[in-house]
Subunit: 246 residues, 2 copies
DNA sequence: GTCTATATGGAGATAGAC
DNA sequence: GTCTATCTCCATATAGAC
């Protein structure tokens, strides 16, 4: 069994402070060609890790696999990210903030735009759309990230706490709005609703394509254009039902 | 990366034919004390593997871990199951048939009992109840198995084909009945409905307990008594919505 | 059927040259 | 910042004794 965390003795974890942060790079870094190259290398490493992790899970991938896929030496991975956990964490953090602030923003904008009259459908759509937008137009990297999240979401691992901080606020904002639309709903039913929504959503962008075989080709697991409107209808109906329980 | 399958050269995989099959054991096996002990040992190995796999995934667990947890030597695991893939497969197959034939049976019984007038709720309940029954009263082994299925369900691994044969018939029976209840539904919408149901269901018995933190303790992820009725309502409402799309 | 002993490879990690 | 060389440990797997 992998030791709970081999990075206990790891003092250089804060190296992740040197991760590519678009727009926050200081002058010295921008000026230096070496630093720019470093950021590119790190991005390539993270891209490779993201893809491999999403297919095989953390333990199914070795540091050497990642290094090979990125076309660099394993020592470089240790230099930039200290150890495997550091790579994994960096992969998650790279996109977790972006997608979740997009979600919160979409919910806030809807709350304003609906003129004090929010609907279940409007709220659900606002929460879901940022993900589907990126699944449809965000390129391969985001799809890999999403598949990795799907995997993590069915484990207790789930990013060990750091990631929660990025994902939870958007969920709480979602629940807040649902509470407004369904004032008679019991508190716990709103959370169960989110749980069911979350399960369907993550399976949608996981790497499980069972539905293709089951439906004899009628549905393809990653046909996001087909999924989004149906998932919205599904969740709206479910939330309405849960929100009006006796 | 783990070689796609280290068991290519593995000729003794059919040793799994010697797995505990209640009621099919031949006289020689029943008579022998050694064989009985062997079956017990195998069961202990599978119990340990089931638990560990469900927590850490296949690659997160070593054969030594399993052997230690089961209190036997690693050589025994190779003797009984040839290799790690053999153990994994045996873990899945041990329960896959049982739960899925229970599902099919429940659906068949409902189809008879409803007197030609099935309801969405009746069908969904028949499909879901066998799992929740076992989650609530089946002991720790079944919970571990379920959590492992949840993990596998978000991966492309998914038992490499053998397991599908056990799970798919029950799903097809479910879809058949839903087609009767929702005659105007488009074929693909029924399958999408199953996909969403499946995602919510597997998350319910996964090891992810995020909902506890999110709801500040109001919900606990494995409170199956709370989940079952809500999940039924959720899916019934969703299926009705999907089944009446324009 | 079970355990001891051991072969062989691959894992994560680091020191030090460039 | 990147690569070479190498250390140490643990993984899977098998042969053979009991």
């Amino acid at each position: 069994m992998p030791k709970p965390n081999a990075a206990k003795k790891n003092t250089s974890v804060k190296r992740s402070g040197r991760l590519p942060r678009r727009g926050v790079a200081d002058a010295a870094q921008v000026a230096s060609g070496k630093a720019a190259r470093s950021r590119k290398t790190q991005a390539r490493i993270l891209d490779a890790a993201e893809e491999l992790f999403s297919h095989h899970g953390i333990y199914g991938v070795s540091i050497r696999d990642i290094a090979d896929a990125a076309g660099v030496d394993t020592a470089l991975l240790h230099y930039h990210f200290a150890n495997k956990d550091g790579i994994y964490e960096a992969v998650l953090l790279r996109r977790a903030g972006e997608i979740n602030s997009a979600r919160t923003r979409a919910l806030d904008e809807y709350a304003l735009a609906c003129g004090g009259k929010p609907s279940i459908e409007g709220v659900v759509r606002a929460y879901l759309h940022p993900v589907f937008e990126r699944l449809l137009h965000g390129g391969r990297g985001f799809k890999n990230f999403a598949a990795l999240i799907a995997l993590a979401n069915n484990t207790e691992l789930w990013g060990g706490g750091t990631v929660k901080e990025y994902f939870d606020p958007a969920v709480q904002r979602l629940i807040d709005l649902l509470r407004l639309v369904l004032p008679k709903a019991r508190e716990e039913d709103l959370y169960w609703g989110y749980q069911f929504l979350s399960g369907a959503l993550t399976l949608s962008y996981s790497r499980n394509d069972r539905i293709q075989g089951l439906s004899r080709g009628r549905c393809r697991a990653n046909d996001y254009a087909a999924i989004e409107p149906r998932l919205v209808e599904w969740c709206v109906a479910g939330l309405r039902a849960l929100g009006t329980r006796h």
